[in-house]
């Protein structure tokens, strides 16, 4: 198969408080069957051989489900392919001689730790604030006691597939996390098990989201466009509705 040569321009930043800059690299022998992260791997192997610090980037499962990876390729979170994470972005979609810019997620709530690695712990704190159904181990009723209509379960599943990668935030000009929060709120609110904490959950999650420094939604829809799991912006409408409803019920 034909091998390609790519020109990469990559954000290098030694640590959180140091200034960063774009650095140019040429990567040869790129196979069309390689994933984008494997291109970074072979570049890093070369850098190590030369005694240079390799490019730091987060990765784990490399099959698009863990949400660890995430870089902005040519200005688009996770690169140009729809419904794709950086680890499942394959080089057959590029051609010999292409120039690629590679940057980290950029958002106030996601500070850069090093190179392409950012701190996304704000997402964990939003979930900790209320993204759960409070049920202690051992206290659950029999699983089939509460039937859930199939279309409701499927809808909840669509929302629950969010991998928490943060692309939605990176793509949004306001660095809004409303798609992430909306997906979790929808997942738990759709199910009968999630009704008891419906109001307090959405209020706690939205308050934490604001505290973390994420912006508001201005209906650009960029989040949906880059979401590797194709989560719909309709989840944001639902979030707004749930939040307003919860506030009104509280009055």
């Amino acid at each position: 198969m034909e091998q390609m040569t790519l020109k990469l321009s990559v954000w290098r930043q030694p640590h959180r408080n140091a200034p960063g800059k774009m650095v140019d690299y040429t990567v040869k022998n790129v196979s069309p069957d390689m994933s984008f992260l494997e291109v970074l791997d072979i570049l890093n192997e070369d850098l190590v051989r030369q005694g240079e610090d390799p490019i730091a980037f987060d990765y784990d499962c490399r099959e698009g489900i863990c949400g660890s990876c995430g870089v902005v390729v040519n200005g688009v979170a996770h690169g140009p392919q729809p419904a794709t994470t950086a680890c499942t972005l394959f080089m057959r979609h590029f051609k010999d001689g292409d120039a690629l810019t590679v940057e980290p997620w950029r958002a106030r709530a996601f500070p850069v730790i090093k190179d392409l690695v950012v701190d996304r712990s704000a997402f964990d704190r939003i979930v900790a604030a209320g993204g759960y159904i409070s049920v202690n181990t051992g206290s659950a009723p029999e699983a089939n006691e509460i039937p859930v209509p199939k279309d409701v379960a499927d809808d909840a599943m669509d929302a629950a597939t969010c991998i928490g990668c943060g692309a939605c935030v990176a793509a949004c000009k306001n660095a809004s996390a409303m798609l992430f929060v909306g997906a979790k709120v929808a997942h738990l609110t759709l199910l009968p098990q999630g009704q008891v904490e419906r109001e307090r959950r959405v209020i706690a999650m939205v308050e934490q989201m604001e505290k973390e420094g994420f912006g508001a939604c201005s209906n650009e829809g960029e989040c949906q466009a880059v979401c590797p799991k194709e989560i719909s912006v309709a989840r944001i409408s639902r979030l707004n509705w749930e939040y307003t409803r919860a506030l009104l019920k509280r009055l």
């Binding site: 192997e45 730091a56 499942t88 181990t137 699983a143 098990q193």
Partner: protein, 637 residues
């Protein structure tokens, strides 16, 4: 030493209930006085940390990733078994127990497996209550599908993302405890040693992966939930950060390693394409519900699949195993794929693949039904290979996927080091020599939600635990040995990236300690591993700083441990001259080429005691007693 698994006596059905009654308890008001360390946040770790937090213990939870939600349990696709018998097709606790014992080729402990089958039903209840969106039927009740090694439908699933949904359930329970202050979460921390004081596990030493700081944490018990070591083969379906380090550090401190050679090679993975490849991707076993496995009858037949007429195809699993067909257990399916490829009948560019064909199922059920069942898997396959599996058959080949081996634990999930427990894939206890599909999720959650809350209380209530701080000499010694190892790695300053050496180690292990093993090859592998280890310590290059985020350092530390651990794995495979489950010794096979056990000499779990790098480890045996099942030659015909 003859090891005692401490399985309670009495009838199988009541062992666990009676044991729960006889174990000691910790009064709710006293629990907050006890700190428990949980290393790892996959299904076992997250469920354990959440449950212990709910009970009132102070829990310290550690993950090497940036968030607990990313642990590798998330990648499990197909489902989770439970003996609910919702399908009215003859399932029962005893049948799940029996299928699991038989699937493991009679190399697991009866007591543990029965308990696993018992609590399986509670897991489903718990997960549904947490909001796990399992697949449902139109009546609103839970749906099931079938998995290998079973003739009933007992697998609960959430599309092809069951692990993700179960993990997000456990993660949400964990984060609820973090919010309440019962669990303190430490992300981007890697455990690099366990601290043993007065013979008890009393803490861990970690590296802060962001700052490079070597940190110490003290506790009354340490729970190791750190998954498996499949990445010793370099290429596996495991995530990039899965590793043996935490478990191997415990082994080097005296914890016995159980059955390290029991490595599951999963039959349905996307084949290797090139040397640059960082990992292999699994295609769920659930696909074998509707996909048919075949190769051309003629060796060297290079025609595209749609031009090979039905009578020139060999549906070899259906032919050889008519009653289980394409749903034979994983070890059997993998070995048969290897056999047909070795005969020159493999497909694709490399000849190292077989077809998994959905044409018939699509014709019978319609494309929509298939999309609903497996849509995300088909999309994943398309994305990786550039081929559309709705139009042409998938090409699949076996790959390292899961390890049944792990730290030796007794019935209480405690290692031979008091206070050191191992849960989930990190222990060796429940799957024998071969794990059935959809049983890993079941075991991880059984251990974390329903076993450890009881057995940990018993340990704490019945042990004398002196007050220990991180200034204790035991902590100082462990921290300085960690620091010294890091300094030693930097000091090598050779010419090769650690990954290059890891790739070579993986090739040795795959070729000689993989799907088929024989004495001569294993002996060669031992020698090659030792030579590679020397080369590693003479020529590895670790760039960057130690006091900063340094992924190359993280990798190198783990690979250094693989270089030691690979030797133990190979030794175990060499000593066990029988075949059983996934461990296939070519010297020991039936006339039909199936794994042939030697119960007279090998009906035991092997637990290895570390005696020094390059030194012969000492073998301890735990005899396996079978009182409720009859040992037979496994048959899936």
């Amino acid at each position: 030493m003859i090891l005692d698994g401490k399985v309670p006596s009495g009838p199988l059905e009541s062992k666990w209930d009676r044991h729960k009654f006889t174990m000691k308890l910790v009064n709710p008001a006293n629990r907050r006085k006890h700190t428990v360390i949980v290393v790892g946040t996959g299904l076992a770790g997250a469920s354990a940390a959440a449950s212990l937090g709910e009970l009132g213990y102070n829990v310290l939870s550690f993950t090497i990733l940036d968030s607990p939600r990313r642990s590798h349990s998330i990648a499990a696709q197909g489902g989770i078994n439970a003996a609910k018998n919702y399908k009215n097709d003859g399932d029962s606790t005893f049948r799940l127990f029996y299928d699991t014992i038989k699937g493991g080729d009679f190399r697991s402990r009866e007591g543990n497996v029965y308990r696993l089958a018992q609590v399986s039903v509670n897991i489903i209840d718990q997960c549904v209550a947490q909001g796990v969106p399992f697949a449902r039927e139109y009546g609103g009740l839970l749906d099931n599908r079938s998995f290998g090694g079973a003739q009933v439908s007992r697998t609960f699933y959430a599309r092809g993302q069951t692990g993700q949904q179960l993990l997000l359930g456990a993660y949400s329970a964990l984060m609820r405890q973090v919010n309440g202050g019962q669990v303190k979460l430490f992300a981007r921390r890697e455990m690099l040693d366990v601290v043993v004081i007065n013979g008890q596990a009393r803490g861990i030493v970690t590296r802060n992966l962001v700052t490079g700081e070597i940190e110490r944490y003290a506790a009354d018990a340490v729970l190791l939930c750190t998954g498996g070591y499949g990445n010793v083969y370099f290429l596996s379906t495991n995530a990039g950060n899965c590793n043996v380090t935490a478990a191997w550090r415990c082994a080097k401190r005296g914890a016995f390693f159980g059955n390290p050679s029991y490595v599951q090679i999963h039959p349905t993975c996307i084949p290797v394409t090139g040397d640059y490849q960082a990992k292999l991707t699994l295609m769920s076993e659930s696909l074998r519900n509707d996909g048919r496995v075949w190769v051309p009858k003629k060796a060297g037949d290079k025609r595209p699949p749609d031009q090979i007429p039905p009578d020139e195809r060999d549906y070899f699993l259906e032919r050889k195993y008519p009653s289980f067909g394409n749903l034979v257990p994983r070890d059997v399916a993998s070995r048969n794929a290897k056999v047909v490829c070795d005969e020159g009948r493999g497909v694709g560019a490399t000849g190292l693949a077989v077809y998994l064909d959905f044409a018939e199922a699509i014709e019978r059920l319609g494309e929509n039904v298939i999309r609903e069942r497996y849509g995300n898997l088909f999309d994943m396959y398309d994305k990786i290979t550039g081929e559309n599996p709705y139009r042409q058959p998938m090409r699949i080949y076996p790959a390292v996927h899961y390890v049944m081996g792990g730290l030796w634990v007794d019935y209480n999930l405690m290692t031979n080091i008091p206070g050191l427990f191992a849960l989930g894939e990190a222990n060796f206890s429940d799957h024998g020599a071969n794990r059935l599909g959809a049983s890993a999720l079941m075991q991880g959650l059984a251990d974390g939600y329903f076993v450890i809350p009881y057995t940990l209380a018993n340990y704490i209530a019945s042990s004398k635990l002196e007050s220990v701080t991180t200034d204790h000499d035991g902590f100082k010694e462990a921290a300085s040995s960690v620091q010294e190892r890091i300094d030693r790695l930097f000091a090598v300053n050779g010419s090769k990236p650690a990954t290059v050496l890891h790739r070579r180690l993986g090739k040795v292990m795959w070729d000689k300690v993989g799907m088929a093993r024989r004495e001569a090859g294993l002996k060669e592998a031992l020698q090659e591993v030792r030579t590679l280890r020397e080369e590693f310590w003479a020529d590895v290059k670790v760039p960057g700083e130690k006091n900063n985020l340094n992924k190359e350092l993280e990798l190198s530390l783990r690979i250094a441990d693989y270089m030691e651990f690979a030797e133990l794995l190979t030794l175990d495979a060499l000593h066990r001259s029988e075949s059983c489950g996934c461990h296939f010794r070519e010297e020991s096979q039936t006339e039909e080429g199936e794994a042939k056990r030697d119960d007279a000499n090998f009906a035991y779990a092997a637990a290895w005691e570390f005696k020094g790098v390059g030194k012969e480890p000492e073998l301890h045996k735990e005899p396996l007693k079978f009182e409720n099942v009859e040992l037979t030659q496994r048959s899936y015909k």
